[in-house]
Amino acid sequence: MSEPINLVKVLADKHGRRRDSLIPILQGLMEETNYLTDEAMVLVAKELDISSADVYGTASFYTFMDTEIRGKYVIRICKTISCSMKGKIDVLHTIEDTLKIKVGETTSDKKFSLLETNCIGWCHKAPAMLINDTPYTELTSQKVTEILQDYMKK
């Protein structure tokens, strides 16, 4: 991972330095770091010549732009009704037991964060979750254990 200042410049070169470049730049940072540090947001503000409050105000509006520390793998389990109806709670408990964290927490090795999210569009294959950008569907306790074990080895 390159230094934040270099990364911000690379992203600004790619997406431009206009106001409408802001979100693609922040999304580019998220891909590298999984959350936005204060330092990175100040650097983006300088690069685009807008106020850092504006950058923070924009970033904090969007649920997927985390401004708190997040693990390398962010698990977002769907909490909308279709998934709840199909056994989401058991899957959630399995994740919590396996990773020894609760919803909203990050493992001490900064590898996993566990969050709940609203409908992710897999209701016909509920329950579902995202790990970073990858969807996993028709989850069971056994299936989610296997998925997590694979990620633990990474």
Partner: protein, 386 residues
């Protein structure tokens, strides 16, 4: 007596030669294309149901040399997943629809705003967009598409919030008027259409307005892709002719014990068993962007209501007071009634509050919270109270 099976339609996922359709259509005059879309009776498939041809006509009538066509792929309504499938299976048809719109309204740039939850589709879509750009070049049609991603905000499916988001700002809805057709993305005349709507425009240009118009009912022409989930043995995506009753839908998709169907997701309406027979799925009855959730008698409708209110309280952008405070108060209110801290008459007060939100909220989010709230509270009062 069991009525006949629902009429399946195959227009959205049907494999067609998009290049040939575009070669034919892009040679036509904008007003001819718009006339076909108007004649077909196509209304927006994202849920709101504005006539697509009118939207294109209003945008085409604007004199500004810069205009945009935006594809709304921010499919966030709970229970909706058809746009994901459409983008995954027939992306070329979606982009083809944008090209046709670009010709009709006079746009040179189009945006696809894809929800962040579907980011896994990006490599495939970008590849398709690159192929599409070469095709546009060969056809000498000056039009290109930019792909933008959302970041987990339901409200960005609201058209003006979506523009704000593309412009790099908080996704807070704007006041209307002005409407997007006169002042949309970057303040320019913009036609914003749902993924599915755009695909239908391609099929209307291929088969003619009549082919579409003869399907469905007077108020709801054509067919629609439904996302079916919940207590059903046949969860999935189905394209069906519009105008069926909830009863016929339940005969096809229910598990034999269906007590309610939530039509249109969290912002839609809950139809209880006693109203199945008289309720039409469509603009003359209960409209839907595609979300169809079935609940059987083992389900607590209080849990369903609570889940939706929790969703709205979280997803309200917080900009206007009726929605920001209203969503929280409805949630706290039903919890208080459930705990017995407030008596059942308090629900009537909450229904009034939902009515106020409908009148006073700035955008469709706050305006539609009352749909699910009222229809669940009124039809399943006992379940909410006890």
């Amino acid at each position: 007596m069991k009525s006949s099976a629902l009429k399946r339609v195959d227009l959205i996922f049907e494999s067609v030669n998009v290049r040939a359709i575009l070669e034919k259509t892009l040679k036509r005059k904008p007003e001819e294309i718009i006339k076909d879309i108007l004649d077909s009776g196509l209304r927006g498939r994202g849920g709101a149901g504005f006539p697509t041809g009118m939207k294109w006509k209003y945008t085409a009538d604007e004199k500004d040399p810069v205009k945009y066509i935006v594809c709304n792929a921010d499919e966030g309504e709970p229970g909706t997943f058809k746009d994901r499938q459409i983008l995954d299976e027939v992306p070329r048809k979606v982009f083809g629809g944008m090209a046709i719109a670009s010709k009709a309204i006079g746009a040179k740039i189009g945006y696809v705003y894809l929800r962040g939850e579907y980011k896994f589709l990006v490599p495939k879509l970008q590849e398709e967009i690159d192929l599409f750009h070469s095709m546009m070049k060969e056809m000498k049609h000056d039009f290109r598409i930019e792909l933008r991603l959302g970041s987990g905000a339901y409200i960005c499916g609201e058209e003006s919030a979506l523009f704000e988001s593309i412009e790099g700002k908080r996704g807070e809805p704007r006041n209307k008027p002005p409407y997007p057709t006169s002042s949309g993305l970057f303040g320019k005349p913009t036609s914003i259409n749902n993924v599915e709507t755009l695909v239908y425009t391609v099929m209307i240009c291929e088969y003619g307005a009549d082919h579409f118009h003869k399907l469905g009912t007077t108020d709801s022409r054509g067919s629609k892709v439904f996302s079916v989930s919940g207590d059903t043995p046949k969860a999935g995506i189905y394209e069906l002719e519009l105008g069926m009753t909830v009863e016929r839908f339940v005969e096809e998709f229910g598990d034999g014990d269906t007590k309610a169907v939530q039509v249109g997701g969290a912002s839609g309406f809950c139809v209880p068993r006693k109203k199945f027979q008289d309720t039409i799925i469509g603009f003359e009855g209960v409209p839907t962007g595609g979300s169809m959730k079935l609940f059987n008698s083992s389900r607590s409708m209080y849990n369903v209501l609570h889940n939706y209110l929790d969703f709205f309280a979280e997803e309200s952008c917080g900009q206007c007071t009726p929605c920001r405070v209203g969503c929280q108060q409805l949630l706290l209110g039903v919890e208080a009634v459930k705990r017995g801290e407030k008596n059942s008459r308090y629900l009537d007060e909450l229904v009034k509050l939902a009515g106020t939100m409908k009148m006073a909220s700035k955008c469709g989010l706050g305006q539609s919270v009352g749909n699910a709230f009222k229809s669940i509270v009124e039809n399943f009062k006992e379940e909410v109270i006890y």
